[in-house]
Symmetry: C2
Subunit: 136 residues, 2 copies
């Protein structure tokens, strides 16, 4: 439709875990992402440099009906990928190693690009890349 | 740490559902997000205007061990929020209504800003906003 409204981009991505404080500590202390609200038992909100938001929720609480917003809450390992500034992936490899964070896997993509994968304390798969990995 | 590496922003956000084709059709046809890979039984990849990626996975397949990447896969309703261009939220309200997509809830936030919430075919909670809803 010619005058159809549009979507501009990602605003919030969500990961779940039953210990929100431990999750928030991981994203703040290990990945250096800024906490702007919480952590509470329910949730924490972290602000990325590009303005996007990483939200962390305890799915047992976020999934309860009767909250002021629609309920949601998933169990099992989720996934998120973060962009790192060009040239910094190698420094991440070093920093994670020195910080005692195991890199579960490093993938060199057939079409170019590299991803480092770690797990957060809830078992979510967290990917770091400085490259464009998908078709434009 | 002074020379610690940094995270630049969100790159991939993930939602799960057992019918990837139906999910991809919703995000492409209802929300107008561009499919750049798939859908396959496993996954689809959609590109947002800001360069971010929305990935859709069947958690039963994405969660199998032995894939070329770390396994992941959550069940239950997840959540994502998308930015819409300033001034377009009202057009979204109209377009969703005319398209037969129920707005589950509309929230006027105490600190300003409005969110529209819909459900995708897998039950994930999808939020649209044109406002800044979180502390900077």
């Amino acid at each position: 439709v010619a005058d159809a409204p549009t979507i501009a981009g990602l605003y919030e991505t969500v990961l779940y875990g039953e210990d929100v404080a431990a999750l928030a500590a991981f994203y703040a202390d290990v990945l250096g992402i800024r906490v702007v609200q919480g952590p509470s038992e329910l949730s924490a909100a972290l602000r990325l440099e590009d303005g996007g938001m990483l939200l962390l929720f305890d799915p047992r609480l976020a999934g309860r009906p009767g909250r002021p917003v629609p309920s949601h809450g998933a169990s099992g390992p989720g996934h998120v990928a973060f962009r790192v500034p060009p040239g910094e992936l190698g420094r991440w490899r070093t920093a994670l190693s020195e910080g005692g964070v195991e890199v579960e896997q490093e993938v060199e993509w057939a079409n170019g690009g590299t991803s480092l994968y770690v797990r957060d304390p809830a078992g979510n798969s967290v990917e770091l890349t400085e490259d464009e990995l998908w078709p434009l």
